[in-house]
Symmetry: C7
Amino acid sequence: MSEMTTEILEQNLNKIVLVRLKGGKSLRGKLKGFDQHLNLVLEETEDTTAVENQLKLGLIIVRGDNVVLISPPPR
Amino acid sequence: MSEMTTEILEQNLNKIVLVRLKGGKSLRGKLKGFDQHLNLVLEETEDTTAVENQLKLGLIIVRGDNVVLISPPPR
Amino acid sequence: MSEMTTEILEQNLNKIVLVRLKGGKSLRGKLKGFDQHLNLVLEETEDTTAVENQLKLGLIIVRGDNVVLISPPPR
Amino acid sequence: MSEMTTEILEQNLNKIVLVRLKGGKSLRGKLKGFDQHLNLVLEETEDTTAVENQLKLGLIIVRGDNVVLISPPPR
Amino acid sequence: MSEMTTEILEQNLNKIVLVRLKGGKSLRGKLKGFDQHLNLVLEETEDTTAVENQLKLGLIIVRGDNVVLISPPPR
Amino acid sequence: MSEMTTEILEQNLNKIVLVRLKGGKSLRGKLKGFDQHLNLVLEETEDTTAVENQLKLGLIIVRGDNVVLISPPPR
Amino acid sequence: MSEMTTEILEQNLNKIVLVRLKGGKSLRGKLKGFDQHLNLVLEETEDTTAVENQLKLGLIIVRGDNVVLISPPPR
């Protein structure tokens, strides 16, 4: 993981991030932790895959190999 | 695996967690054990994939590479 | 593999276990051996994927990377 | 690979085994060799995927990562 | 990663690149960082998969194992 | 890779082999080289996937992780 | 990667090669660089997947794990 990736993720700790997973699932939650495999800990997570039916997932651990991209909020 | 992931999983030992697997399967069971690959031991597990037909699986070992996310219960 | 996984599998040697594989196949057989990759040796195995057409497979070696979950019998 | 797996494969050298591959293909052939990745050498192999159209493949090398399960003949 | 790949990516830092991902998604964004796994940091990213509906993603981290190809702008 | 695999491949250098790839593609070509990952070099290769439309590919390098099985010609 | 593979790729530097990717995409471009994972740098690349709609991609980096086969031009 590049230093820049670590830096971006650290700057976004406790902020809302959008995460897209393989298979098309989208999550939105507060970034609480991460490691070099992009395993993530998210809080107050919502499954935003279906626009009209956003499931509340709360605190979750995401296994990094499912992650396609992580998008921090606009600054 | 980040320290935070380990900490969350340890705090939730013997508690009910929701596990989503690749391929769309959902499980709900009592977390009895885990390792750094997210191999899991769950007890009193139910396959909650189909809302109307929840299969009881009892004690299971989940191979970690199938795990998409793990969701502890709300505190 | 966590110690607990090893312990559960050892306790269930020579007992009937249910194994679910990637792709949806289900197997039921007597657990004769395993290793840390969850490569399995099963005896008197039946392919229980199709409820009405359970194929007898006898002794089999399962390559661990196909395993989704292993379920020992209720105690 | 567990010692038991090695032992079973060694006992079945020069015997007919059934091999199921990812993607659904089934092979039946005489086991001539194997390694710890379950790369296999089979002789007089038939592709038995389609019941009515069994293709003769003769001597083949199977790359182990395609293997789901190996089933020796009943004793 | 070959030296040439590193060189090309370094030459294109702060320039717009096109990235194609497994599963068919296309992204266009300003390359801000990368590492040897092709993990990427892109800025002002747009999801250009659907010609008529280009989503703005802003700053993103792409997990390298999803990348099929990276195309710098014509010089 | 077992010694037997190496031996078979060496014996079939400069001979026509049939190669089946993940995804269903079939190739037929003269084996010119290989390594322990089953990366292959084939010459005078034909894509024999479609019976009626066999494409000539000539000299090719096959990335080993795509290989399902390799079948030397009958002796 | 076998020495032969390296040799073939080196001989074809600055020549047009055909590259087939997992998922069915075909590329044609001038080979500018490669490494042992078959990460490739291609120049003047065209996406030749669809016969009637060949997209110009120009300079690209291909992540090696997507490569199925590489075909140098006939000599």
